[in-house]
């Protein structure tokens, strides 16, 4: 199992995957033409032919039979071509000392504060592959990639998690807020946003802050809350050091979590090691390993022994990484220490 850059030959498999992902992952709802464009663009990105502002790194998770099991994405920098908006949940304080009244009213501030940061997005793992460590490989592989090529990214990584919605896919946050300004339903607006029509957000939404007490109760309850389908991703990223600092999605109120690149566990604890092959050890911990290449990037997870500054893996792992003994790798334990303790 490896994570590698998407290739143009992956297109048919990707389209099939996107079909499956349809209700869950609006960002992947692309027709063939747009998907082709996105894949070509990703190939150019990995070939370092595009500016950071336009960079769209698209990774796929493939097994040894070259079957595509999942997808994840990473952008160079958001909001550098056109404004990227979200809300920050702040507070309005007011007080009347004479009457002894004090109020703290949560207030939404439209902002571009996350402009220039890099976004991880579009994570999708085939339903039959969930529950193991594949999701972790797909999610964290990107972080190791960022550790290796930090100069290609912003100071922070951010991730917008899907917000609450009912069985029909309706978002209470949208119904109470965005709907009034867009005069379209949530899925339509989200679709347009996913297609890259970002400017319309700026054009249609009010610039002035909004008091949350004027939203419906359901909408207030949805602020900063992730959809149940996003909870697994939230858990993985939280363990990596991502936190929610009050930024939420303009459409569904879902949390936008963030972490300074240097503070992310997979980045901070990753080491440059020399690869060696040896006997597999069933007791050894799982490592996340990157071959340190950009265009030919390969990232995998495997049991490995750390001996000095040498990482000993089995021959199949080295082959998956397209490396020989003596080559340099960047690696980090797949689980943080607390998770390892739990796993043991």
């Amino acid at each position: 199992m490896i994570v590698r850059p998407v290739q143009i030959t992956d297109l048919p498999a990707l389209l099939a995957l996107a079909q499956q992902a349809r209700p869950e992952l609006t960002g992947l709802q692309l027709n063939e033409e747009r998907m082709t464009h996105r894949v070509r663009w990703a190939c150019r990105t990995f070939a370092e032919q595009v500016d950071r502002a336009d960079a769209d790194y698209l990774f796929v998770l493939v097994d040894d039979e070259q079957q595509i099991l999942g997808i994840s994405a990473l952008t160079g920098g958001i909001g550098l071509r056109e404004p990227w908006y979200n809300y920050r949940v702040g507070l309005t304080h007011s007080a009347s000392p004479r009457l002894g009244i004090q109020r703290q009213i949560p207030t939404l501030f439209l902002n571009n504060e996350l402009s220039g940061q890099s976004e991880i997005s579009s994570l999708y793992l085939r339903a039959d592959q969930r529950g193991g460590s594949h999701g972790r490989l797909l999610a964290l592989g990107r972080l190791l990639f960022v550790a290796e090529f930090a100069h290609l990214f912003g100071n922070k990584l951010i991730a917008g998690l899907r917000g609450r919605a009912d069985e029909q896919g309706c978002s209470p946050f949208w119904d109470s807020l965005g709907r009034h300004f867009f005069k379209m339903d949530f899925s339509q607006a989200h679709h347009l946003s996913g297609l890259g029509h970002k400017a319309f957000i700026a054009e249609l939404m009010p610039r002035q802050p909004l008091y949350t007490c004027l939203l419906s109760e359901q909408a207030q309850a949805a602020i900063g809350k992730a959809h149940p389908n996003s909870e697994a991703a939230l858990k993985i990223l939280s363990a990596e050091g991502f936190t929610h600092n009050g930024h939420i999605d303009l459409f569904d109120g879902g949390p936008v979590i963030e972490a300074p690149v240097a503070a992310i566990r997979s980045v901070r604890e990753s080491q440059l090691l020399v690869l060696d092959t040896g006997t597999a050890d069933d007791q050894a911990p799982l490592w996340l390993i990157h071959n340190r290449r950009l265009e030919n990037c390969r990232i995998t997870s495997a049991r490995a022994r750390l001996v000095g500054n040498t990482l000993v893996v089995d021959r199949l792992t080295a082959k998956r990484l397209q490396l020989q003994p003596g080559d340099s790798v960047r690696a980090v334990p797949l689980l943080n220490q607390r998770q390892q303790a739990v796993a043991a």
Binding site: I101, I105, F182, L204, P206, L210, Y211, C213, L214
Partner: protein, 338 residues
């Protein structure tokens, strides 16, 4: 006979009775002895001043039954709405959403706090004995203020506004307050209105929402209150509507009741009122009912009278009328058809 006249210090006990009976939304009539006394003194000072431009003067009138001495109502003119601190209102204007890319353009109504109306002259504090509502004396109580403005135009702005009490139910619940004000003031509607009359209004500035409130985000019942008149405020509304006052985009901060607006030069009682000279005598066949006032300041009086005026000629008033208006032969009066 009922006569409208400036308030006097001895009116205090009766004024307090009127204040107690008045609608919750009539905040300029606090049921508070000390404040009412200040109000009376302030009014006396205003009538006595020789100002020739609108300032902080507040003219308080009462409607007195000359036979019994009982006061049946009161009304006020504040020369400058913002004289006692900023005059806050909510402005209802559409926020325009336009996207060229998506070919969308629509307006979303939004309420924004403003002080736009601060420089206008404000009619307020109207309260009348319910038995006299929708009678000629109800007209007198409201419109005599307009005749006063006509007679002393330099003391007032060239635009006049008034706030009509907005909707609240029999239990004193205002759906608009419950959806908006309550969040910011943490008070029941009735209490907030009461404080408005009693306290310095700085608490308004301290607590009120400064960012726009988008109307479609409010519950239906609150939206329906915007510009809606309290049933007991309808008579006052109707009188001024007939005078040419119009609603505009401003509503009250607390209950979203409408604000009425008119240019002084377009107010019917001002434009159509006639000046005439008094001729005491007997009225033989009156042909119409009129509001009649003298042209005094501190001695201002206004009544309802059945007269037979002829253009360009002195107007005959009987002895009761002359006494009520405190006029004698040759004095100037102003009259307008009821």
């Amino acid at each position: 006979m009922l006569v409208l006249r400036p308030v006097e210090p001895t009116d205090l006990p009766q004024l307090q009775r009127l204040a107690r009976e008045s609608l919750v939304g009539v905040t300029s009539l606090p049921d508070d002895n000390e404040r009412l006394r200040d109000k009376i003194l302030d009014s006396c000072k205003s009538f006595a001043s020789d100002t020739c431009k609108p300032g902080a003067e507040n003219y308080l009138f009462v409607l007195e039954d000359l036979t019994t001495g009982r006061l049946a109502g009161c009304s006020e003119i504040l020369a400058t709405a913002g004289a006692e601190g900023p005059f806050y209102s909510l402005r209802n204007r559409p926020f325009t959403s336009t996207s060229r890319e998506l070919n969308i353009e629509h307006g979303v109504p939004a309420l924004s706090l403003c002080q736009d109306l601060s420089s206008h002259t404000l009619l307020r504090g109207l309260h009348i004995d319910p038995a006299l509502s929708r009678t000629p004396h109800g007209e007198l109580l409201s419109r005599a203020r307009l005749l006063f403005i006509a007679a002393h135009a330099r003391r007032f702005a060239d635009t006049v506004i008034t706030e009509i009490v907005g909707y609240s139910d029999d239990l004193g619940q205002s759906p608009f307050w419950d959806a908006v004000g309550k969040h910011f003031f943490d008070l029941p509607y009735v209490e907030a209105e009461r404080l408005c009359g009693l306290e310095s209004r700085t608490f308004l500035a301290e607590l009120m929402p400064h960012y726009p409130i988008y109307v479609p985000m409010l519950p239906r019942a609150a939206q329906d209150c915007i510009g809606k008149v309290h049933p007991e405020g309808q008579a006052a509304f109707d009188i001024l509507a007939r005078e040419g006052f119009e609603t505009n985009s401003y509503v009250d901060l607390f209950d979203a009741g409408p604000t009425l607006f008119a240019r002084t030069s377009a107010i019917r009682s001002i434009v159509r009122s006639l000046r005439a000279i008094v001729l005491p005598g007997a009225i033989i066949d009156a042909c119409g009912r009129y509001l009649v006032s003298n042209e005094s300041l501190a001695g201002y009086r206004a009544i309802v009278a059945d007269l037979q005026p002829v253009a360009g000629q002195p107007v005959t008033l009987d002895a009761h009328m002359c006494a009520a208006l405190q006029v004698s032969e040759g004095d100037a009066i102003r009259l307008v058809a009821l």
